[in-house]
Symmetry: C2
Subunit: 140 residues, 2 copies
């Protein structure tokens, strides 16, 4: 029941990018140093986020990473889904047909409801909000 490091790191990366002035870039290495994340691992995560379209990556001198979407509409849900796949507490909600109990299982809807709540909550949190909150916290 815990978020993986992959997700943790990926979220921090997105947050760093969200705090950047509009239009500027930074390298994976810089973020890795700042956040104390193994750089090789982080670069892999960055690629994953690039493939999902959440960041844009430019190779070469002066290249680096920038956010692929407007931070005001980029949500925690987008991030977690890109990093960890769909929100699914129980195996059964993802593959109901594989469970012989699914026809009469009373837990099924419990999980479904909880997942829906999580999705709802996560989709409310934008990286723009997070970035502003962090900026304020550092300043204050």
């Amino acid at each position: 029941m815990q978020l993986s490091r992959r997700a943790d790191y990926g979220i921090r990366l997105l947050l760093e990018l969200s705090m950047l002035p509009e239009g500027s870039r930074t390298s994976t290495e810089e973020i890795a140093n700042k956040q104390r994340i193994p750089i090789t691992f982080l670069s892999k995560i960055a690629r994953q986020l690039a493939q999902a379209g959440l960041v844009r990556a430019y190779p070469g001198l002066g290249g680096g990473l920038e956010l692929g979407r407007d931070p005001r509409s980029l949500t925690m849900l987008d991030a977690i889904q890109a990093l960890e796949g769909p929100i699914a507490i129980a195996r059964c909600t993802l593959h109901p047909h594989e469970c012989p109990r699914s026809a009469f299982c009373p837990m099924h809807q419990v999980w479904k409801k909880m997942e829906a709540q999580m999705v709802d909550e996560l989709s409310r949190i934008t990286f723009d909000q997070l970035a502003q909150a962090e900026t304020r916290a550092i300043a204050g």
Copy 2:
């Protein structure tokens, strides 16, 4: 972000016990067969639940398992906490001091809130409700 099999199996065990007529018992083996769970594994889980007081176990002929608490006040939260430990989405909410970012981390309260929601939701679901729902579903 997924429930372990341990929790899955444990919950099913508790549900089976909740569906039993008041005061009667059943053996670990019966539940294992019914639910297609490896019996050696399930017996280990049963022990864990016994130690947490959620079930009572009696050795000997005519022994077996019975619920350790009133199913009307036994909640899904109790079960999951006994089986998986505390509800904690992020490492940081459990061990804030270990994270150098905790002072200004904007995600921290997001996780906290989600955990609180989960706790709240899970604590509303009693095994009595679940047992009734399943009984109805099988009958209907």
